[in-house]
């Protein structure tokens, strides 16, 4: 028992986010035991999946020392593009999904190249990309989404195999990929790049390539999130609104330092999960939607303040 407690303390010392998450889950267990029914737990994971995926994507960029503010508008753009291209034709489902991933790749590549080769701060690059994507997709569709998504497409975000939603399976895949990437040599060199780009370069790390890949990962993960969100809720222009800040909040909540080189992708994803559990809990507690942003603000300030104190002591 004492060794278990010791272990728990060790884990929570390394990842305080886990402590916060467990506490929230405990409170949720007291207030709403039904939450732990397998079905509703899976439904929760299904809803949380897009943000967790976005947080994982954002993590790559942040840990390499940059920002990606364009993911929210990219999600919107992807969903709207998908609806217009598929236009209700089932045979178009898979080709369009491939196009979505490809489009994410191109956007990430553009973000990465502008940031690294033109030396534009990523804050500005991705802010510009945000404006461009929103504007372009509205212009292209004449201001209102056209076409329709097919059932096959929507299935990925809506339906389940047995009781396990596709979204949860996709989340599991993406999380596995993210974990493997960060355990792989690429992940380690990415961390080194964010930590100290000069050392990384002098040790043979292709720094520009690593940063560009981080942007591509963020954008491709956003494309995957778009597939899930489009499937879950259907086409709308609101689908991606504000997701960039939610993703950054989640990553920071997970103890990942802005500026790079510090934090794990697991913690970033746990941060996203914590945020979703928090919102569920607020809903259960009957806290009005309006106060959610205030709670979000408090949590993020507190989490970062604690993190800042830890790294100094």
């Amino acid at each position: 028992m004492s060794s278990l407690a010791l272990r728990a303390r060790k884990v929570s010392a390394r990842q305080p986010i886990l402590l916060i998450l467990l506490t929230l889950l405990f409170v949720l267990a007291v207030r709403q035991p039904e939450f732990y029914d397998p079905a509703s737990l899976l439904a929760f994971l299904k809803r949380a999946a897009p943000l967790v995926i976005l947080a994982a994507g954002q993590y790559f960029v942040i840990v390499a020392g940059d920002f990606d503010l364009s993911v929210g508008s990219l999600v919107t753009a992807e969903v709207v593009i998908a609806a217009r291209l598929i236009d209700g034709d089932p045979s178009m489902t898979w080709p369009v999904i491939a196009i979505m991933i490809g489009f994410g790749l191109v956007v990430g590549l553009a973000n990465g190249l502008i940031t690294t080769l033109l030396h534009v701060p990523s804050f500005i690059t991705t802010l510009g990309m945000y404006l461009i994507l929103v504007g372009a997709v509205y212009t292209w569709t004449g201001g209102s989404p056209r076409g329709a998504l097919t059932e096959q497409f929507r299935m990925l975000g809506r339906n389940s195999i047995g009781i396990v939603p596709y979204a949860v399976l996709i989340l599991a895949c993406v999380a596995t990929i993210a974990l493997l990437l960060m355990r792989s040599d690429f992940g380690k060199t990415l961390l080194a790049t964010g930590d100290n780009p000069r050392t990384a370069r002098l040790s043979g790390v292709p720094v520009v390539r690593a940063r560009v890949i981080a942007f591509i990962l963020s954008a491709v993960f956003a494309a995957v999130a778009a597939i899930l969100l489009g499937g879950f809720g259907g086409v709308s222009f609101q689908v991606g609104a504000g997701l960039e800040f939610s993703a950054i909040t989640a990553v920071v909540l997970g103890g990942v330092a802005l500026g790079g080189g510090r934090g794990t992708v697991t913690a970033a994803m746990l941060g996203a999960l914590t945020l979703e559990v928090l919102f569920t809990l607020l809903n259960v507690l009957g806290v009005s939607g309006a106060l959610k942003s205030a709670v979000q603000g408090l949590i993020i300030i507190a989490a970062v303040a604690i993190g800042a104190r830890r790294s100094r002591s």
């Binding site: 040599d185 961390l191 790390v205 080189g261």
Partner: protein, 489 residues
């Protein structure tokens, strides 16, 4: 004006300064010379209020003083010009000079007065040509130095400590500095002048204090001593340190440079042999590090030829150099050697991972990294410990392990033992020799002349971006110093 009596200082039980006396008179330029580790910088820091002496007294203008911090010393009239300038690149000379003490008129900064006062300070040292409104970032190094000096003057400094003031200056700029120092002296300013370059010392100073191993060897009038005599005072320390035996014979030529150069290096021709350590000595700013960086492709050569094991190569990035089998242990560990927040193991594996990235960690490579860490005797709480918490010596060993994993053919060591304790130093020396004996060609840069002499099979001496001469590993310190300082010419 300044009198140090019997000053002593120790860090962690190591006596760095012991019973040092120093006097500086108004209008005097007083050189402080000595080898690396002789205690010059500690002495300067005591004079400028950074450190408190453990023993002895500091008298300033006839009164015993004990400065809390450099700002208090500044206020009392002691200015210091560091090697690294404390200037804002985007601001004007006047704005930099008066930063933190801007003159006010009716509550607003009086720009006119600020410029005027800067101009008159500049005029007072004969630097009328420098505009107070020039942007510092666009000035040459010499003019930036002038700005620093004026900043000190604006604080009514009555004495100035100049730490290696010519290190970053080009030749013609050095001449300008000479004039400036002479004018300051004429105004009655006392100047403590720390320099390696004996030519300057003889050109400029009135008296010279020689430090060795934390003690004052002598203080002499400059006119009463020759360069040879001075060098003899500075060196001659007993080899308190054991160095591994040198290589008997040179192996094949590994890396050869023929007439190589770039904007800082000129006409470099050198050969590194397998099994040998080539020591590069030279003063700061002589191009030692630039040479290593050029070979490693950081600031690549733009002229000349480079051959590696007989094949002509052109390296334009570190990555290419590493692929070719070259490793570079940088001078500034913190800024260029470590990823401080990553673990010991991750730091040790960084180059391996960067060069041949794998999807899955293979046990073999990790095992190899562990073996290397053990072989170089890194002492860490665990391999997962963040490398920033390690001592300097252990950090350097981790970096060594990083490169050893690639079994490089050529190793470039830039100040490999700077800031490292004696025990770790010996271990690193042994390692360097072992690597050479296993067939690597080693280039070693060090400011610590005895170390370089103890380690090198051959020596190349650099001055002003050129090879001033090559010497056998058995050369004595005086010969090297003469060549490096230009005292012999």
């Amino acid at each position: 004006m300044l009198q140090l009596r019997g000053v002593g200082k120790s860090f962690l039980g190591v006596q760095v300064l012991q019973d040092v006396d120093l006097e500086l008179a108004a209008g005097e330029v007083h050189a402080v010379v000595g080898e690396n580790g002789a205690g010059k910088s500690t002495l300067m820091k005591i004079a400028s209020g950074v450190y408190h002496p453990d023993a002895g007294t500091v008298r300033w203008l006839g009164r015993d003083v004990s400065f809390r911090d450099p700002r208090q010393a500044q206020a009392a009239g002691i200015g210091i010009i560091h090697q690294e300038f404390n200037l804002l690149a985007d601001r004007t000379v006047a704005q930099n000079v008066f930063l933190g003490r801007e003159p006010l008129r009716r509550g607003l900064v009086d720009t006119a007065a600020m410029n005027e006062r800067t101009a008159s300070l500049l005029a007072s040292i004969g630097e009328e040509s420098l505009s107070p409104q020039a942007i510092v970032g666009r000035l040459g190094v010499a003019q930036q130095q002038v700005t620093e000096i004026v900043k000190a003057l604006s604080l009514d400094a009555r004495m100035l400590i100049m730490d290696e003031p010519t290190a970053a200056l080009a030749d013609h700029e050095v001449e300008l500095l000479y004039g400036l120092v002479r004018r300051l002296k004429a105004r009655g300013m006392g100047i403590l002048y720390v320099s390696h370059r004996l030519k300057e010392v003889f050109d400029l100073t009135d008296r010279i204090t020689v430090l060795k191993d934390g003690r004052r060897v002598t203080t002499v009038d400059t006119s009463s001593i020759t360069a040879d005599g001075l060098v003899r005072h500075m060196v001659g320390r007993e080899l308190s340190h054991y160095y591994p035996p040198k290589s008997a014979e040179a192996g094949q030529e590994r890396l050869t440079l023929q007439g190589a150069g770039n904007n800082r290096l000129h006409d470099i021709s050198l050969a590194l042999h397998a099994g040998q350590v080539l020591g590069i000595c030279g003063l700061q700013g002589s191009g030692r590090s630039a040479l290593a960086r050029a070979i490693f492709g950081v600031d690549a050569f733009t002229r000349g030829n480079v051959h590696l094991d007989g094949a002509s190569i052109r390296l334009s990035s570190p990555r290419q150099a590493i692929r070719a089998g070259i490793a570079y242990i940088t001078e500034d560990r913190k800024a260029e050697g470590l990823t401080a927040q990553q673990s010991v193991l991750d730091n040790a594996m960084l180059a391996t991972r960067a060069l041949s990235p794998r999807w899955f960690a293979t046990a073999g490579r990790t095992l190899k990294a562990r073996e290397l860490l053990a072989a170089v005797e890194v002492h860490a709480a665990s391999e997962e410990q963040e490398v920033r918490y390690l001592s300097g010596g252990n950090q350097q060993k981790v970096i060594l392990a990083r490169w050893l994993a690639l079994t490089p053919r050529v190793l470039l060591f830039d100040e490999p033992t700077r800031g490292i304790d004696v025990g770790a130093k010996a271990a690193i020396h042994d390692l360097i020799r072992k690597l050479a004996s296993e067939g690597a060609a080693v280039l070693m840069i060090s400011s610590d002349l005895p170390e370089l002499l103890g380690m090198s099979d051959r020596l190349a001496v650099m001055r002003d971006g050129r090879i001033a001469g090559e010497l056998p590993g058995t050369a004595d310190e005086e010969t090297v110093m003469r060549l490096a300082t230009g005292a012999s010419s």
